[in-house]
Amino acid sequence: MLRQASRLLTRSIATTQQPIRVMGARPMSTNLPATPVEDSAFLESWKKVAPNIDPPKTPSAFMKPRPPTPSTIPSKITVNFVLPYASELTSKEVDMVIIPATTGQMGVLPGHVPTIAELKPGVLSVHEGNDVKKYFLTSGFVFVHANSVADIVVVEAVPVDHIDQNLVQKGLADFTQKLSSATTELEKAEAQIGIDVHSALNSALVG
């Protein structure tokens, strides 16, 4: 609740200002997000050194436009959930996501304060109405933006129901044995990582 306090405060101001803004800043009734601006300083300095070569494109030219920060809190949160080999969710509007941050489980609702959080192995659950979809994540980052958009960037993720309970138990036993027989620091660390991941998988299946 405290997370949203600052957001709620600004909202009350924003709503009072809204009618004026609508009259002044929007001469046309198009509600398109602003097109990404090219970096003019870069283009100019490029022209000076290499007038014969077209300046290279920059990533912002290929960005999907992001919605502007709305003046009121929307009822849904927009989630982008990406992996290196796939975009699991793209601009999907859901009610809530619960994220396994390193500081603990974090529920993200619409109007969450802008946050950057690191992830640890754990379960990401996406709540949409009565549907709850659960994914097991390894690690990555989450960015929650002011415009109620949450970006989840993860190295590897699988739906929880694709995990085999028996294999998890077996892996856990294997790594526990490896830890007890480990001699060097490196082996110990590797075994510890294995145990951490498998116990996180185990608790994801049980819980």
Binding site: V49, M63, P84, D151
Partner: protein, 320 residues
């Protein structure tokens, strides 16, 4: 006379003129058939036709191979496009941020015969290098792929920090690229990494692109001065001991993600470019073959006509 014509048709005169000079000088008066006036040796043309046909076969096969590889990699490249967008949304896109240590990561291919994608990447890297020149400034190159190395080693050998080749021996995956990214981050000091690659748009068009990854210190500096990254201060940062630590992790993760996409796009562009290059070269080979066939037939026809005329006129002389 008929013998002389037979010699001409065989094309011995052009292929190996030396051993038969004695024979020829006794048989053909020099003034009668000056070199190459009446007939082009058909043998030479035939050989050329054969080699062009073989080249066409090879280029066609290469085109097929490139097309099938392209299909595989194109879906993967398109799937990886979501990966960098969150970072650009958060940290913005800052090609103009002025820093001391620039590192230009040029992504190119290992093999040639793929149109101009490698030289475009090199040209852009060179121009950007010129742009960052200045007192107390340092620019280094990190080169991925054999082809850019060959071009850049000529004029900026001292500036090359790391060279990595044979990226695509195994199918590219994220783990491999993140190990690569880790290698680069460990061995090169940087304030900003500029990744230059060709973004795949379609089989015939590639957009030279430069992505920027700033070091955590520069990100913090820019955020505090309220420049292009001014929004970053409004974000609450969770986890980690300090803000710097998180930013460090973030920058490294960003680099691996951006590099992954860059490598994928570049591999995809390479196959696309190779496909269109091979397509046009098989078409050129076809055109050439048509021209050669025409020349060949015309020459053959001409020599037959000459022989006939000679025989008929000889017979007429005997009769008369």
């Amino acid at each position: 006379m008929a013998m002389a014509a037979a010699f001409r048709r065989e094309g011995r005169r052009f292929v190996s003129p030396q051993p038969i000079t004695a024979v020829r000088s006794s048989l053909i008066p020099e003034d009668h058939a000056p070199l190459g006036v009446r007939s082009i040796s058909t043998q030479v043309v035939r050989n050329r036709m054969k080699s062009v046909k073989n080249i066409q076969k090879i280029t066609k096969a290469m085109k097929m191979v490139a097309a099938s590889k392209l299909r595989l990699i194109q879906t993967r490249a398109e799937n990886s496009r979501g990966l960098w967008q969150p970072f650009t949304a958060l940290l913005g896109d800052a090609p103009s941020v002025d820093v001391k240590k620039n590192v230009i990561v040029t992504v190119s291919s290992d093999k040639g015969l793929c149109g101009g994608i490698n030289s475009t990447a090199v040209k852009i890297s060179r121009a950007f290098n010129k742009l960052t020149l200045g007192p107390e400034k340092e620019t280094k190159y990190v080169i991925l792929g054999e082809k850019a190395k060959a071009q850049l080693i000529r004029d900026s050998k001292k500036k090359i920090a790391i060279c990595m080749t044979e990226l695509q021996r195994n199918p590219l995956n994220y783990t491999q690229v993140s190990v690569l990214a880790d290698d680069i981050l460990k061995n090169v000091e940087y304030d900003a990494l500029r990744i230059v690659f060709n973004k795949f748009e379609s089989v015939v068009s590639f957009l030279p692109t430069m992505a920027t990854v700033l070091s955590p210190e520069v990100v913090e500096r820019e955020a505090e001065s309220g420049g292009r990254l001014g929004d970053l201060d409004s974000y609450e940062i969770e986890g980690g001991e300090t803000k710097g630590e998180i930013l460090q992790n973030l920058a490294e993760f960003q680099f691996s993600c951006v590099l992954f996409n860059a490598v994928m796009e570049s591999a995809c562009s390479e196959q696309g470019a190779r496909m269109s290059a091979m397509d046009s070269s098989s078409r050129n080979a076809g055109d050439m073959l048509d021209r050669l066939t025409l020349t060949y037939n015309r020459t053959r026809q001409a020599s037959i006509t000459t022989e006939l005329t000679e025989i008929i006129s000889g017979a007429a002389a005997l009769e008369g």
